[in-house]
Amino acid sequence: MAQATFEEISAADFFYRNRDIAGFTNPTRAIFAAIRELVENSLDAAESIKVPPDIYVRLSFEGEASEETQIYRLRVKDNGTGIPPQHIPLAFGQVLYGSKYKLKQQRGTFGLGGKMAILYGQITTHQPALIISSTGGTRIYEYKIMIDIQKNRPVILDRRITLNKDGWRGTIIEFTLEGDYLRAMPKILEYFKQTAMVNPYANLTFVDPKGRLYIFKRATATMPDPPTETLPHPYGVDVELLQRLIQITTHGNMLDFLKNHFHRVGNVTAKRFLEFSGISPSKNPKKLSHDEIVRLVQMLRKFKDFLPPDAGCLSPLGEELLRTGILKELKPEFLAVHQRKPATYSGHPFIVEVAIAYGGEISQKNGFVIYRFANRIPLLYDEASDVSVKVIESMNWRRYKVAPDMPIAIVVHICSTKVPYKTVGKEFIADRPEVRREIANGLREVARQLQRFLSRREHADRDKKRLGVFSKYLPRIAEFSTKLAEKDKIPDIERLLRNVRRYGVE
């Protein structure tokens, strides 16, 4: 019998072996995913300091890799925070290293995306990545790095410091990767268009390998308020997190521990909870046994009287900006946007924003055009599995006088400190009843507005048609009866037509 061998693999190795789950499935998906991850990092970096993002993406052809794939050089430049020099190697050279493990709404969550792109480039082209960044100080830092996959560590090949004469702030990332741009192109362009839609305050520029320039100009400089960081809500806590909190806490009793580490837990609520769960307020949290911790998590979930999380940690787009973005990219004839009140699922606050647009540049196909967004990221793959699509499909659209062949676009944006993605690839949202309910209620609201628009339009159409009929036949009647009565002068029918215009007659 063969001896089983055990080995430990690093996080980088794990994701290298399982790059599918992060969206780097094939040369087509990979090139799309790389652009997407870097653009999202750049958007985060600019938004976190409330600067309207200026993002420049260039993809250039480097050479043939195989019959189907080419080597491209990808360069992404932004005007975001920049990265302090001491963090640069790790931020781009160590998987699961990031600044976004906090409880606030951001695009990045896993500490993985940018590195996956670089890692993919490295394993397909064996070239280092170049990172140039400045936080706006006197210097610009340049790093050439590769990732040691087995150790999950960055290897710094070169490091240069230049003077920041112009006071530039931002980050440039450049590396080569293998891919199939021709196949990926439609999705990439769609990605930019949709990103522009939910980030109407961003300037996006894309130069593709053929030298074609795509510019998505910002329509406003107004940005949503950045989210504030927040403590975990008791309903969203698991054993893992609780253990981590106990480890770092400086509070020596349960009452203070609860009051200081949990979202919306004050003195009164903490006391009532401890009474409910039969835990002594003076107990030292560090003394809790494993079983007690497990029980505490269960009690936290059972207790009914925690206040719901507040949504200050969320940064929804807002109805105004959503409207601006959709008008800019779809130029619809009619648009209704609606933001739901904050809601929660398992202790995580979330806000659903929906919109419905009619006509304009929306194509008329059989079925709606559906735009799905999460934390201002367009979701372009796996549409059929997404909760929004399920909700849209289960709605009785005929009730709203909506027919499947109308040029209608539906936009669903969900923002949350923890978007319930089904995979690390961040492509579709799981079907949670709370989320489903919010989406459904939101859609009903905008659908009602669409219905009002459609029936108003139908009325206007009918009035126009009616006037058309009268304008066509009354003059005929006048003409024929004049001839029939053997008169010379045709009677004036303007007065009758005015009546029709004013009252619509019968």
Binding site: V469, Y473, I477, T482, L484, A485, P491, V505
Partner: protein, 368 residues
């Protein structure tokens, strides 16, 4: 009982006056700044009654208002006024047209009709509004029937005005078209009219000199008699005081051909002058089938259903003959065509049957 029939010319003048009157009414309404409207009797079944004095269906008192104020009425209203103008021009220029023509002519005025049915309906509306049948305002049907016999007519149509024609001049008979319909009757030696359902028999009668042997004007109805033919038969009856005998197939449909000549149809309840109440149905009766032992076919379900309908029809209550024949049909459940007499030889029908039936039905056929 009959009022003297108006002369063809008089009638045309009346029709023209009515048409012009319709135009003036609409014109005045427009001048006054109101949406023009017209009223006419309702033509649907709940407003159709049988008039025992006139011995035909008539319309009751229910009336509809067609107003150009109502968007649904607007197009038909314009079409009606157009049809009135079209008929007015035809009639005053003494031209004629057909229903099919009307449908196409409208397109020249950008008054397209959706289909033939729509334009036919508008013409029927115009008949109802005016109380005249469309032949009176120069719109004739496509189907044409024929007449043969010693009757001299004088044309009134342009180009033939004053010319005369004897209706024996063509051995196939003379077509009952607009020219004949509007002709005046000059003189005749005939003392009766025999109307025949089928062309074959009509030709046989001419060949066998029925017109001479029986002193008759022969009219081919060619199935259900067109309205122009019904009007023509009425004129023969009214103006020349000739009794009218009708010979049809021996089945419910033949029987009804005779009935429509006598009492008209519900479809024409809005019209007068299309009936000949004194005409008689001389055969082929159900009782003839029995008596003459004619070769027969069985009555099928549709025939039987028709018989039940006719049994309840007020027109069939007038004379016990109808009920008796209907019952006989129902009993024997057989039908026979006019040609069935050929089993006794080609001339049997002329030599034996016809004189017998003229004799039998002659009593009642006498005109007053």
């Amino acid at each position: 009982m009959s009022e003297p029939e108006r002369s063809v010319l008089e009638k045309r003048k009346e029709v023209l006056d009515k048409l012009r009157g319709l135009g003036s009414r609409i014109y005045d309404q427009l001048e006054r700044g109101v949406f023009p409207f017209i009223e006419m009797p309702v033509r649907s079944t709940e407003n159709i009654y049988y008039d025992h004095v006139l011995r035909q269906f008539v319309l009751g008192d229910k009336r509809v208002k067609r107003s150009s104020r109502n968007i649904r009425h607007l197009k038909p209203f314009a079409q009606l006024v157009w049809a009135a103008l079209f008929s007015y021009e035809l009639t005053s220029q003494r031209k004629t047209s057909t229903l099919r023509d009307v449908y196409y002519s409208a397109q020249a005025y950008e008054m397209t009709f959706k289909d033939q049915q729509e334009s036919n309906n508008i013409i029927t509306d115009l008949e109802t509004v005016l109380g005249y049948s469309r032949e009176d305002f120069s719109i004739f049907p496509e189907e044409r029937s024929a007449v043969f016999g010693d009757l001299t007519i004088r044309y009134t149509v342009p180009g033939y005005e004053g010319k005369t024609l004897n209706l024996t001049s063509h051995p196939d008979g003379v077509m009952i078209g607009p020219a004949l319909t509007s002709a005046e009757f000059e003189e005749t030696s005939a003392d009766k009219v025999i109307a025949i359902e089928k062309g074959g028999l009509f030709t046989r009668f001419i060949e066998e000199n029925v017109h001479k042997k029986f002193n008759a004007i022969l009219v081919l109805t060619a199935g259900q008699a067109p309205r122009a033919t019904r009007y023509f038969i009425r004129r023969l009856n009214r103006e020349l005081k000739l009794p009218v005998y009708i010979f049809t197939d021996g089945d419910p449909w033949g029987m009804h051909i005779a009935m429509v000549i006598i009492s008209g149809s519900a479809n024409a309840a809005h019209l007068r002058d299309l009936t000949t109440p004194d005409a008689v149905w001389s055969g082929v009766w159900a009782t003839d089938i029995v008596e003459y032992k004619l070769p027969t076919d069985p009555l099928d379900d549709i025939d039987m259903k028709r018989l039940y309908e006719l049994q309840k029809d007020p027109r069939y209550q007038e004379d016990p003959l109808w009920q008796r024949e209907i019952k006989t049909f129902m009993k024997i459940k057989r039908k026979a065509e006019q040609e069935a007499f050929s089993r006794y030889g080609l001339t049997y029908i002329v030599d034996e049957y016809l004189p017998a039936k003229l004799e039998e039905t002659g009593q009642k056929g006498k005109t007053k």
